[in-house]
Amino acid sequence: MSSDELIWRIAGGSGDGIDSTSQNFAKALMRSGLDVFTHRHYPSRIRGGHTYVEIRAADREVQSRGDGYNFLLALGDSFARNPQEEAYYGNEEIKPLSENLDDLREGGIIVYDEGLVSEEDVEAINLEERAEANDWHVFPMDLRSLAREHGREVMRNTAGVGVTAALLDMDLEHIEDLMSDAMGGDILESNLEILHEAHDIVTEEYDFEHDLRVPEGSHESQQALLSGSNAIAYGAIDAGCRFIAGYPMTPWTDVFTILSQNFPDMGGVSEQVEDEIAAAALAVGASHAGVKAMSGSSGGGFALMSEPLGLAEMTETPLVLIEAMRAGPSTGMPTKPEQSDLEHVLYTSQGDSQRVVFAPGNIEEAYEQTRLAFEIAWDYQIPAILIYDQKLGGENTNVDLEFFDREPKPDLGSTLTEDELREAAHDNSGKFKRFNHEDAENGVSPRSLPGQKGGRYLATGNEHSPVGHISEDPDNRVAQMDRRIEKLESIREELDEERESTQTYFGDETADYGIITWGSSQGAVEEAIGRLNENGHSVKGLSVSDMMPFPEQEVTEFLESVDEALVVEMNATAQFRGLLQKELGRFGEKLTSLLKYNGNPFEPAEIVEGFEVNLADEDREPTAQVRIEPAAGD
């Protein structure tokens, strides 16, 4: 068993405090000097249902979940439905134990709450036999009684943490500190008692021979543990966004919540409204009146935003939308990640509508690209969309605190002041030429704001003249259309020539094979490439963030330099590969897809295996639940 990393999985029912316990435990590991990465698996239910959080901790950078895991704390599901009856969903009480066994590595540790999970049930799943075969170390503990004795039953999770710390020979200091930060009074006291009692029972009463320990590490600078949703929200704050409108939908709700909680103290406004059509329309209205505004949703809600999105494009109203993908189609699997809304986000809304789309690959990129989206949207007066997923939004990792020590950039881009408006072009009646194709630079014609003197014009979703009057004149139509299209070309130019690339590269430049991916699959691909090269392969990687305008030059160079490339994405229809081929018009024979759409993100080993199976060109199938979609002509 690899002892250079701990992958701790805490499993229970929704409502058993899995989230908060894991958050604190991850922070304790981070404070001890380790890099951490969390992965959350949960059902679309308020109470009960099998849920777990996995924390991977190592003394080196971790950018992905690992392959399987090595420590299970199975609390059992205290909110299980009809646990005694045979229902189609089976005995739920034991699921946090039974459902997690397949991924547990050889030599791993199992702690389960024997206060909740009955002996007969444990016998029924042949735990003893399987433990022997896999060299697992099993520690049944009555966590429930322990929690009840010193506090309340829900504190079972604290008991579990105490047991974990004892079995891993881990210092309790950071855990105690975090508990003291989070609670006080009797509750804190009970929790501390439970923590120590559990810890002492293990150290005093159990003999253990396993060699799994918490790795030792140290950080050179202070770290912050945060999620992709945090990073997006913080990017928006630092870009000067002070208006958000939304309607709850998993998983986009996280960003909406974070900003709603922070805006009142920052002079900002948050509006929860009647539906997503209204949400996007409100963001357009606020932006029109001069505020940096955003909205967002997930698949179904984003579908409702199609028409306001097109309106923003046609009226050249700056706008940032975020789209948190989840498994579809339709309601799909609300709490499971998937990268299957790419085409939806790129092409929704009627006509030749255009927008900017970024797909960040990790938490730092989520922050950077949110800022970039605002900057471009307000400079070029165009909608910019950040597309991410339940995986990136929900996973937590540590980032250098100093990464965020940055200046805010609230300026309104190509918006005029009243002084500037006096110098600007007007028609004979004094109407401002808001959509002036004659003097536009890079396709951008500066805008005014309602209430400004000398800036009066009409914004309309119809085709319009320079002052905004509805116009179907062919010459004007072509001039306006060309000018709007020019904006996207100018943005590509700016991204290529004036800014650091938002694409991420891995491996040795001279490698023969490529793996190309996008968005949140980036971390697993990065790790897989490292291992493939250790296995003797010659592989490099490219993770693309600019979905529109597409970085044609960079991707072409990458694909020209490799013999073949594996395109890794979490969907069933190879949407990103389709985009590559549409944008580049070639390379079809070089691109094989590795697809996963079972509701769980890629593990690095699955990518390693997929690559090797494809390369061997044999008639064998990957063992993982993934699909290989051969290159054109194969």
Binding site: Q222, Q223, A224, L225, L226, Y234, D238, G240, F243, A245, F263, M266, G267, V269, E271, V273, E274, D275, I277, A278, A279, A281, L282, A283, V284, G285, A286, H288, A289, G290, V291, E307, P308, L311, L401, F404, R406, P408, P410, L412, E418, D427, S429, G430, K431, L449, P450, G451, Q452, K453, R456, L458, A459, T460, G461, N462, V467, G468, H469, I470
Partner: protein
């Protein structure tokens, strides 16, 4: 100093200022009631001291949506049914703006019905004018949410089986704090009602009867009309919700029998506007948000200062 100096400007205002200097050829048919709304607005705005550049007129889609093509204020001609959410947000973004939303009966009571209910419920400080001609005009005469039962059209060839919507009653129930009905054929009343609606602090809804001479020929021209405040036959208390509800119901019932009742139906001056409510819970800044971006004294908050909770 404000970055929006058109707002609150004190000067003589000529009603011609609201007519675009380069006036587009109206797409409205001769005799269309929509001219009545335009005319009353052009009269009302200068009389209450509003200049063109402190007003934002937000419209939906349909004949009514062309209003801001012919009314020279800041304008936003949006998409079908969505004038209200756009207008609401503009008002929240810059609370000093005078925001007027407008659309047709299909736009406001049909496709945008959800927004109508919630905008009234929340009592946003704005005016909403619904051009009600009981028909879809721009798409050439289909049955609309306010068309009378039995109304025949190309899409309801045997006559509509649906009872029309009750716009006034619905507005009251949803929470609007000013509800009136006027008609294009009664320009003086319309002007006065528009002035009151704009000056009202809260959601002011005007159901504006606008005859469609082209597609609704068998409908009334809304004459003769009765002003319920002027008539001796009616004397309900506009501050009394129950009496207002009764009066609205009767008005909606008799319209399809040929009696056109108009006037003020409900006025609640005590209900705080949404802006006031949101401000009271600390979720709307005192300074209009749009000013912040031009104010050099503002220290912009940074996410860096929020990070302690993550360490």
């Amino acid at each position: 100093m404000s970055a929006f100096n058109a707002i609150g400007e004190e000067r003589e205002i000529d009603r011609d200022e609201f007519t675009p200097g380069v006036e587009p050829q109206p797409t409205w048919c001769p005799g269309c009631g929509d001219f009545g709304v335009l005319k009353s607005l052009k009269q009302a705005l200068p009389e209450i001291g509003k200049t063109p550049e402190e007003v934002l007129t937000v419209t939906g889609i349909g004949c009514s949506g062309k209003l801001n093509s012919y009314l020279d204020t800041y304008g936003f001609h949006t998409i079908h049914g969505r004038s209200l959410p756009v207008a609401r947000a503009a008002k929240l973004a810059n609370t000093d703006l005078e925001v007027i939303a407008a659309g047709g009966d299909g736009d406001g009571y049909g496709i945008g019905g959800n927004h109508f209910i919630h905008s009234a419920r929340e009592n946003h400080d704005m005016t909403y004018i619904v051009f009600n001609n009981e028909i879809f005009g721009l798409t050439k005469g289909q049955t609309s949410p306010t068309s009378p039962k039995g109304h025949k059209s190309k899409t309801q060839p045997s006559g509509s089986a649906k009872t029309p919507i009750r716009p006034l009653s619905q507005s009251l129930t949803a929470g609007a704090s000013y509800v009136a009905r006027t008609a294009a054929v009664n320009p003086n009343q319309a002007k006065e009602i528009i002035k009151e609606a704009i000056e009202h602090d809260g959601f002011a809804h005007i159901d504006f009867l606008t005859q469609c001479p082209t597609w609704n020929k068998d409908a009334r021209q809304y004459v003769p009309y009765v002003d319920i405040q002027e008539s001796d036959d009616y004397d309900h208390d506009i501050h009394d919700r129950a009496e207002a509800a009764e009066m609205m119901r009767e008005t909606e019932d008799v319209l399809n029998e040929g009696t056109v009742l108009t006037g003020r139906y409900y006025v609640d001056e005590d209900r705080p506007s949404y802006q006031e409510e949101k401000s009271a819970v600390g979720e709307l800044p005192d300074q209009p948000l749009a000013e912040r971006y031009f104010d050099d004294d503002v220290e912009w908050e940074r996410s860096y200062d929020l990070l302690e909770r993550h360490t």
